[in-house]
């Protein structure tokens, strides 16, 4: 993939994440902070389909943005064909793993499997 496409994705995920993380944080402000963290309230959030979908989107956007940023830092620190391939594929792997693990939580909590 051309680097310009990757960077456009990096900027796009950043802008998307800003908006959605703001909503995510605002949800915690709908009640008293410590109350909003209580088990039943958090589970109720996961049972709201739009909110759960939003969480999924935030997870994907932040994972892509974060691991691409880390990939850029690591590529600048050291160069070489093998090392760069390792970092590129490693970043995709780490991204996928985090999205999978987070999605598992959203799915299981949303479907009441807790």
């Amino acid at each position: 993939m051309r680097e310009s496409i990757i960077m456009k994705i990096h900027y796009g995920t950043a802008l998307g994440a800003v908006a959605l993380v703001a909503i995510h944080i605002l949800f915690r402000m709908t009640q008293n902070f410590s109350e909003s963290l209580q088990y039943q309230n958090v589970i109720a959030n996961y049972h709201l389909l739009p909110y759960a979908l939003m969480l999924e989107v935030v997870l994907i956007l932040l994972s892509v943005h974060g691991f691409n940023g880390l990939r850029v830092i690591l590529l600048e620190l050291k160069q070489g064909i093998a090392y760069e391939k390792l970092i590129n594929y490693g970043s995709i792997g780490a991204m996928t793993a985090l999205i999978a693990y987070g999605s598992r939580t959203i799915l299981m909590a949303g479907m009441g499997m807790s």
């Binding site: 950043a14 802008l15 902070f33 932040l62 880390l70 830092i73 939580t105 299981m108 807790s114």
Partner: protein
């Protein structure tokens, strides 16, 4: 031998925010906050996954995180998030050529047009917003 021969400044040079003005400090803070936020994201995904193990597991997780240290870390995360966002928007616009000045005939003392007051103001605003967000965050977290 190759490293010395290439005379690269290395990580020490990349990570040194001094000598080159406010924009270099902003670059360094952007990197630091980005890494910090990534570490927090991974931790956050892990800690919130405890909800699938039931109320007991969730409450145990809250006992770990709803502490003074936990709140201080969260306050730091709030600051990093706000700075990274605000400065990131400044950098993104700069990357598109917005706010970097117009080319022209350089005049002595050759002050760079891209390092203008708008850029410096945006950096200070980002730092101020982060500080304000941290204060608000602390009021919410410790005020409960």
């Amino acid at each position: 031998m190759t490293e010395r021969m290439s005379n690269r400044e290395g990580l020490k040079g990349m990570a040194n925010p001094t000598r080159y003005g406010l924009e270099r400090v902003a670059y360094w803070l952007q990197r630091l906050s980005g890494l910090g936020l990534l570490a927090y994201l991974i931790g956050h995904i892990y800690e919130t996954s405890s909800i699938v193990n039931g109320k007991v597991a969730w409450d145990k997780m809250l006992e770990l995180t709803q502490t003074t240290q936990g709140h201080l870390i969260l306050t730091l995360v709030i600051g990093m998030c706000v700075f990274h966002t605000a400065n990131g928007i400044r950098v993104m616009l700069g990357h598109g050529g917005i706010g970097v000045g117009k080319p022209g005939q350089p005049e002595y003392p050759y002050k760079a047009a891209s390092l203008n007051y708008k850029q410096r103001l945006c950096i200070w605003v980002s730092i101020a917003l982060a500080a304000l967000a941290m204060m608000y965050g602390m009021a919410v977290l410790f005020g409960d």
